[in-house]
């Protein structure tokens, strides 16, 4: 199949950027989107041009490294699918594809389609962990967890930190990511000791990173490759309100 790409090219954080057009022929419908970009990069290298920089690692939809906005949709048009798991057969022959990086002040652009998602790491460092007793592993069944809580916690833990929620949000808000991190630990008995400090500190760090304010559009949920529900945002708000009132310091 044939596709026409319009790729955002920007040499560095402060360099001016623009869309560059690439016409591709002989694209296999069974290629993944990233494989298609690999082929293009081989051609660019053969022509002694700078290849397109984009993030990727596992290429099996579990690491959260890949991510680009394809025709106005983070990770492309297919629901619950990362860019690396997207296949060219999703698109019609002759498709026009606009490819851009995540756009958010908190995700500064490094090069082409690569942005710095360190803001997410700093949010997790602010309290996205639990205190554990080191030494021998505890008996796995010593702490009972209700089935419903275990399931919900797993749903939240599915977040791979890709940042598509921020990219899709009209406000560039990170609420879905933070909600997933807060809920995943806050739902489990092991997460209780730091529960209120965690939500307060994660939210403070989220604001400090310069993300916008959620206005409940729900675009994050539609873009999320792990289909994290905005129910978790309500849970985050609930936890935050409780903690902000009762948690004394911070």
């Amino acid at each position: 199949m044939k596709v026409t790409l319009h790729v955002w090219r920007q040499a560095g954080p402060t360099a001016p950027g623009r869309f560059v057009r690439y016409d591709m022929t002989d694209v296999s419908p069974d290629m993944s989107f990233l494989e298609m970009l690999d082929v293009l990069n081989q051609q660019l290298i053969a022509r002694r041009e700078e290849p397109i920089a984009f993030d990727h690692d596992c290429r099996e939809g579990i690491c959260g490294a890949c991510g680009m906005v394809i025709n106005g949709r983070p990770h492309g048009p297919q629901r619950a699918t990362t860019a690396c798991q997207l296949h060219m057969r999703t698109f019609p022959d002759g498709a026009d594809l606009w490819i851009e990086p995540w756009r958010a002040r908190a995700f500064p652009l490094i090069k082409d389609l690569v942005v710095d998602r360190g803001a997410f790491d700093r949010i997790v460092q602010a309290g996205g962990f639990i205190t554990v007793r080191t030494g021998s592993a505890p008996e796995a069944n010593a702490i009972p967890v209700p089935k419903r809580d275990a399931d919900l916690a797993m749903d939240a833990a599915a977040c791979i930190g890709c940042g598509a929620c921020v990219a899709a949000c009209p406000n560039a808000s990170a609420m879905l990511f933070v909600a997933a991190k807060v809920s995943h630990l806050g739902l489990l008995p092991q997460g209780q000791p730091e529960r209120s400090a965690r939500v307060v500190n994660l939210v403070a760090q989220m604001d400090a990173e310069g993300f916008g304010a959620c206005t409940n559009h729900g675009e994050c949920m539609a873009a999320c490759p792990k289909e994290i529900s905005i129910d978790f945002i309500a849970r985050l708000n609930r936890d935050y309100i409780k903690a902000a009132i009762s948690h004394r310091q911070g």
């Binding site: 989220m206 916008g212 949920m221």
Partner: protein, 233 residues
């Protein structure tokens, strides 16, 4: 690394500083305004009972709580709460809007809307329209400055006189559609912001918000329509 517990308690409370807190202020004040909008509608619908009933209702508001409270006291308390709620609501709206606008300095070639609604996308400009409308509304019926023939105390007359002017009625209808849209997303959104959305709520809150918003818009719009149609004269 950020310590789990910081040493100093900052001066401003967390609920005022954080963006979530500002949304909570917006939701709480929005619900206060919504309760007012519903009570105000129930009162206004008495216009259909005729001049005598309607004027008596308006006068009765001044003696609300009698004989326990002095004349006009509760009305003034309500006014102060409402003015406070409007100010806090707009202040928080401006604060979160500015945060969101600065959160994406470089925009997209195109970002496709998938999940959002027209109501959600028009909250900000809708809010501005409501604020402008509110000022006109007060000048018209409360202060009588822009009313075609204001008679203090004859509320029924003032309403009919104003709505007979069709551009006034038309503007009122538009404003009430905007209020309906704002309330639809606002109420739905407030469930979320206040953390009241637990799994079963998720299924019915859109319906509840839509019904409340629809009833409010239709209820308010019925009055100018009845005046123009000659049902209220």
């Amino acid at each position: 690394m950020t310590p789990l517990v910081a040493a100093h308690a900052p001066a401003t409370p967390r609920l005022v500083r954080s963006l979530i807190g500002k949304k909570v202020i917006m939701a709480v004040t929005g619900v206060i305004l919504l309760l007012f909008v519903i009570a105000h509608l129930l009162g206004n619908l008495k216009v259909f009972q005729g001049a005598e009933h309607f004027n008596a209702y308006a006068a009765g508001l001044r003696t609300l709580g009698a004989p326990f409270f002095p004349r006009g006291l509760l009305l003034w308390v309500a006014r102060i709460v409402l003015v406070g709620a409007v100010c806090a609501h707009i202040w928080a709206a401006i604060a979160v809007t500015r945060a969101s606008w600065s959160a994406r300095p470089v925009g997209y070639h195109g970002l496709e809307a998938v999940e959002t609604t027209y109501a959600a996308r028009t909250m900000r400009w809708g809010g501005v329209i409501i604020a402008v409308y509110l000022i006109y509304h007060l000048l018209d019926f409360t202060f009588g400055r822009v009313n075609p023939s204001f008679v203090p105390g004859d509320v029924y007359h003032n309403v009919i006189a104003s709505f007979r002017v069709w551009p006034v009625s038309a503007a009122y209808v538009v404003a009430m559609v905007v209020v309906g849209l704002h309330v639809y997303h606002g109420l739905w959104s407030a469930f979320q912001t206040l953390g009241l959305n637990r799994p079963p709520t998720f299924r019915w809150r859109r319906g509840v918000a839509g019904t409340v918003a629809g009833l409010i818009a239709v209820g308010y719009i019925s009055i100018p329509v009845a005046v123009l149609a000659g049902i209220l004269r």
